[in-house]
């Protein structure tokens, strides 16, 4: 017991006294309420920056706190030149090719459900290929894209129960491009129909369906005639100019 080692108390064996306290307890000071030191200008400046960035992020990405806006403008993937198009000389390419390739980029929003092939996922997400909604008039299709559709609804003889969110936060051009893309790429169009949806037609659709608050149900959509097309001039596929 008198070697220096025995300075450590043996808790299993006995009592403690201040004399043979374990050294660890002795070597710490007592705690106090701390000081009231000041933080420098740098720290305050950094705090101000944090507040500015946080507030900026909040108000620029929340899209006005609307409860029916599902995709923030800032989330939509930017055009990526390495994925083709965009780098070409715009004048040398026909208007419809640029319109389609822009539509393909906007379609990036749709691939998670409808897949890059437009075939959907059997039983879960409806296909665009062979869908009567895509092949029919543009009014119904425009209505679905602008305001979404809530299940149950039927596509190509199958019932689906998912909710497709509204996409009216996309710009008119983007909606027109993606509608053109899915109709020309995945639809089977009647003879003589070019499948083009123009910005003008989307503007008309926004006006026509403007009172809609919730996603459509199948019954509401069926009330729109199957072959109703959105009003708007046809365009020259080469130049994009309205035809007389």
């Amino acid at each position: 017991m008198d070697t220096p080692d025995s300075k450590n108390i043996d808790y299993q064996r006995g009592t403690v006294s201040a004399v043979d306290l374990h050294d660890a307890a002795r070597r710490e000071p007592s705690l106090q309420r701390g000081e009231e030191g000041r933080v420098g200008v740098t720290v305050l400046a950094i705090s101000a920056l944090i507040l500015i960035f946080g507030g900026g992020h909040l108000f620029s990405t929340s899209n006005g706190f609307g409860s029916s806006i599902y995709v923030s403008d800032h989330y939509i993937p930017e055009p990526r030149p390495d994925l083709g198009a965009g780098g070409d000389d715009a004048a040398a390419v026909a208007w419809i090719d640029r319109w389609m390739s822009d539509g393909k980029k906007v379609y990036a929003n749709c691939v998670a459900c409808h897949q890059a092939t437009g075939l959907g996922v059997t039983g879960q997400f409806p296909p665009l290929v062979g869908s009567e909604w895509v092949d029919g008039g543009t009014s119904r299709l425009g209505a679905i894209l602008l305001h979404g559709i809530n299940g149950p609804f039927h596509v190509a003889g199958r019932s689906y129960s998912q909710l497709m969110p509204p996409w009216n936060s996309l710009g008119d051009d983007k909606i027109a491009q993606v509608l053109t893309y899915i109709r020309r790429e995945f639809g089977s169009l009647p003879e003589g129909e070019d499948g083009v949806v123009t910005t003008e037609m989307v503007q008309a659709a926004r006006e026509e369906f403007s009172g809609k608050a919730n996603p459509y149900t199948e019954a509401e959509l069926l009330a729109i005639p199957a072959d109703a097309a959105l009003p708007g001039a046809k365009v020259d596929l080469q130049t994009g100019e309205p035809l007389p």
Partner: protein, 486 residues
């Protein structure tokens, strides 16, 4: 200004508290360390499996889909929370000057917690997992965990009621916050997920839970440790006490909004992830204020870092908290987040929080507490050094490769006309870094477990001086003496 030395009466009281804490606290620490070792081995095995997917194909128990959740759940509930609970109880006893009145009850409840974790891990391993990160276990297990947590942490209340310390120290504020916030987030998440909400809401709630497990449990426990240990070791009072209190309330008000940005672009209103992203940025105020405050407290005596293992682990942990909070704020914004979500980046971030920040701080606390409750010194300074450096190199390797790999993988994922698996195959080289990291961390924690087991069995070094990281100055009474600060 330095803190006053202690009177003999206080010393006696301190020793009596430590003695009453010995068995429950050592039980929590040792079983936590055993879970940690298991979790790191699982981390290593799952990383190897991810790199070489064809390996052990015949055995369903060695599939990545089971190994990875087993690893995560063991790491968080087995190690992190259990170590945190041990630290919380001891700190609370010391700060309120209350003894552990019912150590046996605590040990019994601790066994229930361990049984709950073991059930959770086992059921995931045999294939009953649900693929909800950190709530993977079957629904009937969560009440076991909730009840055992409550029955352990409830002992903080009598300690607090019978407090004999006039000072209500800022660490107590953080500990009480952590003690009550965990039941809140755990109940909410489990109720929303298990009681028939829409699946989208379940996923969002899960993301909220994951984020707040860090902001509302790990961060306050670790910050409480830092505000305790750093003044104790440096002998300096907290640089700005009002700032320490203010950052607690900032954390309390802001951090609960974080989380949804993990699934930004998901099918819930856009403002939800926008608000989460903004909350992650605003929470930086609380985290950075805390870390700056701690560094200012240590100003002029950073040399202590070279000698005191507790200080070194704690301070590194707090710096990693700042790094994590910065990265988390950055990746919660749409600009960066949309190309980082669903990639290795997320694994890197979670590991940075669970290991880099929280575990490092807990190691600091354990290196401080165990000599006091067992009455012996750590057996080997080399062991502690090895633990520190292998852990540090391991976690840095992990975080750097996973973050860079995550950026590469996220870029690949954005190429939407490419099949999903291509993004994984292209980034799989980075998984080698993850395997190496877990190998280093596993080694370091084997040493940690071995040393802790020796201490548990009463085979610690009997000595006058503490085990410091460098031994040249001989048997100094403390790290302050070595570097000449009095």
């Amino acid at each position: 200004m330095t803190l006053p030395q202690t009177t003999p009466e206080d010393l006696n009281e301190r020793a009596a508290i430590d003695r009453s804490a010995r068995y429950p606290v050592m039980f929590f620490f040792t079983s936590a360390a055993a879970w940690l070792f298991f979790a790191t081995v699982m981390g290593l095995v799952s990383s190897i499996k991810l790199r070489v997917p064809g390996l052990w194909d015949a055995c369903p128990f060695l599939g990545y889909g089971r190994l990875f959740p087993v690893h995560c759940n063991a790491l968080v509930y087995g190690w992190a929370m259990q170590a945190g609970i041990g630290v919380m109880l001891w700190l609370m006893a010391r700060l309120t000057r209350s003894r552990f009145e019912h150590p046996v009850a605590l040990i019994v409840c601790g066994h229930i917690w361990n049984a709950g974790v073991a059930l959770a891990v086992f059921s995931i391993w045999v294939g009953a997992g649900r693929s909800i990160p950190l709530l993977d276990f079957p629904a009937w297990i969560w009440p076991v965990l909730a009840i055992s947590y409550a029955s352990i942490v409830v002992w903080v209340i009598p300690m607090f009621q019978n407090r004999r310390n006039k000072l209500f120290y800022v660490s107590e504020l953080y500990l009480i916050g952590a003690a009550v916030w965990f039941p809140w987030i755990f109940f909410t998440a489990n109720l929303v997920i298990n009681k028939g909400s829409a699946p989208v809401m379940g996923a969002g709630t899960n993301a909220w839970y994951l984020s707040n497990l860090i902001y509302f449990w790990m961060a306050p426990v670790a910050i409480a440790v830092a505000y305790y240990i750093i003044p104790k070791i440096s002998g300096r009072p907290i640089y700005s006490y009002p700032l320490a209190q203010a950052s607690f309330w900032l954390l309390a008000v802001l951090a609960g909004w974080t989380g949804f940005s993990r699934y930004m672009g998901g099918p819930f209103p856009a403002w939800m992830s926008a608000v989460s992203g903004a909350a992650a940025i605003f929470s930086l105020l609380a985290i950075l204020a805390t870390v700056v405050n701690l560094m200012l407290t240590l100003r002029g005596c950073t040399k202590l870092w070279e000698y005191s293992p507790s200080l070194r682990f704690t301070m590194l942990g707090m710096l990693m908290l700042a790094v994590w909070a910065l990265l988390s704020a950055t990746s919660s914004t749409f600009v960066f987040g949309k190309n980082l979500q669903f990639s290795h980046f997320l694994v890197g971030m979670d590991t940075l929080a669970y290991y880099g920040f929280f575990s490092m701080t807990m190691f600091g606390a354990i290196y401080f507490i165990v000599p006091r409750v067992t009455g012996a010194e750590w057996p080997s300074a080399t062991g502690i050094r090895t633990h520190f450096w292998f852990s540090t190199y391991g976690i840095v390797t992990m975080v750097v490769t996973m973050l860079v790999g995550g950026i590469a993988q996220g870029g690949n994922l954005a190429q939407w006309d490419q099949i999903f698996s291509a993004s994984f195959v292209n980034a799989s080289a980075y998984v080698v870094g993850r395997a190496i990291a877990w190998f280093l961390i596993t080694l370091s924690n084997f040493i940690f477990l071995y040393q802790l087991a020796l201490m548990f069995l009463g085979k610690g070094r009997k000595s006058e001086g503490p085990t410091l990281l460098h031994t040249e100055p001989g048997e100094a009474a403390n790290a302050r003496e070595v570097v000449g600060i009095h």
